[in-house]
């Protein structure tokens, strides 16, 4: 695949992520913040998001395994997750968090467990997609091209 095709592929791929609500406008905001002083800003923030998310998913699993569930604690974790996913523009993850918080409020264990599963699923999807996107960007840069906006 030549440079032009790679760039074309990236543009289309990115568009599909927005179209399918994996990403929203906030992600564009992140891209706009990147500059020559900080050329890896988006990758850095997204990497932080991945690390933090994995930590939160573990905490959530642990909290929901307890014989007596501390729903306030569960909700606090989901609130964090909602915040960070919103800040990077991971819309579907954010929506999953909103649904999760409703079940926390109702102290509904079944609901919470289902939501955790859904959250894992959405997170895993957006992670894969973002990694693919970054890979495409790397390929373009390695081929001596620039990332189309």
């Amino acid at each position: 695949m030549d440079l032009f095709q790679l760039q074309r592929r990236l543009v289309d791929y990115r568009a599909s992520l927005y179209h399918e609500d994996f990403l929203d406008e906030q992600f564009s905001q992140l891209q706009d913040l990147q500059d020559e002083n900080n050329p890896d800003f988006v990758v850095e923030v997204v990497t932080l998001f991945f690390e933090d998310s994995e930590r939160l998913l573990n905490e959530l699993a642990k909290a929901l395994e307890q014989p007596i569930i501390d729903f306030k604690r569960v909700d606090a974790h989901v609130h964090q997750f909602k915040g960070s996913s919103s800040s990077i523009g991971a819309q579907r993850v954010q929506k999953a968090c909103i649904a999760f918080r409703n079940y926390c409020e109702e102290q509904n264990v079944e609901g919470c467990l289902k939501c955790l599963q859904q959250l894992r699923h959405e997170y895993s999807l957006v992670k894969t997609k973002l990694e693919s996107m970054f890979q495409l960007e790397q390929q373009i840069l390695s081929a001596g091209g620039s990332i189309p906006m």
Binding site: Q29, L30, D32, L33, V45, D52, Q80, G83, S86, S87
Partner: protein, 150 residues
């Protein structure tokens, strides 16, 4: 011309506004820091209210005050929902301080709760901003930051 003197002056008073950003969320701290740096601010971040107070020299530990290293900030921007001390509680502590009450405080929150907003504004917050923050939001802070630049 002896550039040494004016150079020191600039270092002393600083051309760049200094903002203290408080947020318990790691990603949000990184985001707000970048947004502010892109607006040519010097940024210090704190992960909770207590750390913020320590930095400002307002911690109950009197040693800070005697130290004399009370940091000068031109603006404080803080998240509302934080464990331990909320942004509102932090705001109150700042406004109670004779040294720091003049520093503008901006509250951020992911939740648009009218009572929360009015409570903060009544307590003396300059502005309430909805998260996630965008570049256009930081532009609205320009008026507080402009005063530092002459």
């Amino acid at each position: 011309m002896d550039g040494g003197c004016s150079g020191d002056m600039a270092a002393e008073f600083g051309d760049e506004p200094h903002v203290l950003a408080v947020d318990d969320n790691l990603i949000d701290r990184k985001l707000v820091e970048k947004l502010l740096k892109n607006s040519s601010c010097k940024v210090t971040t704190a992960e909770n209210g207590l750390r913020a107070l320590e930095y400002l020299g307002l911690a109950s530990d009197k040693r800070n005050a005697l130290d004399g290293t009370v940091s000068k900030v031109n603006l404080i921007i803080t998240d509302y929902c934080m464990p331990g001390m909320t942004g509102y509680e932090l705001l109150k502590k700042i406004k109670e301080s004779s040294v720091l009450r003049e520093v503008p405080v901006v509250i951020m929150s992911s939740e648009n709760v009218p009572t929360r907003i009015s409570q903060c504004l009544q307590e003396g917050a300059q502005m309430f901003m909805l998260k996630p923050l965008k570049q256009s939001d930081v532009k609205r802070l320009e008026c507080y930051l402009m005063r530092c630049r002459s």
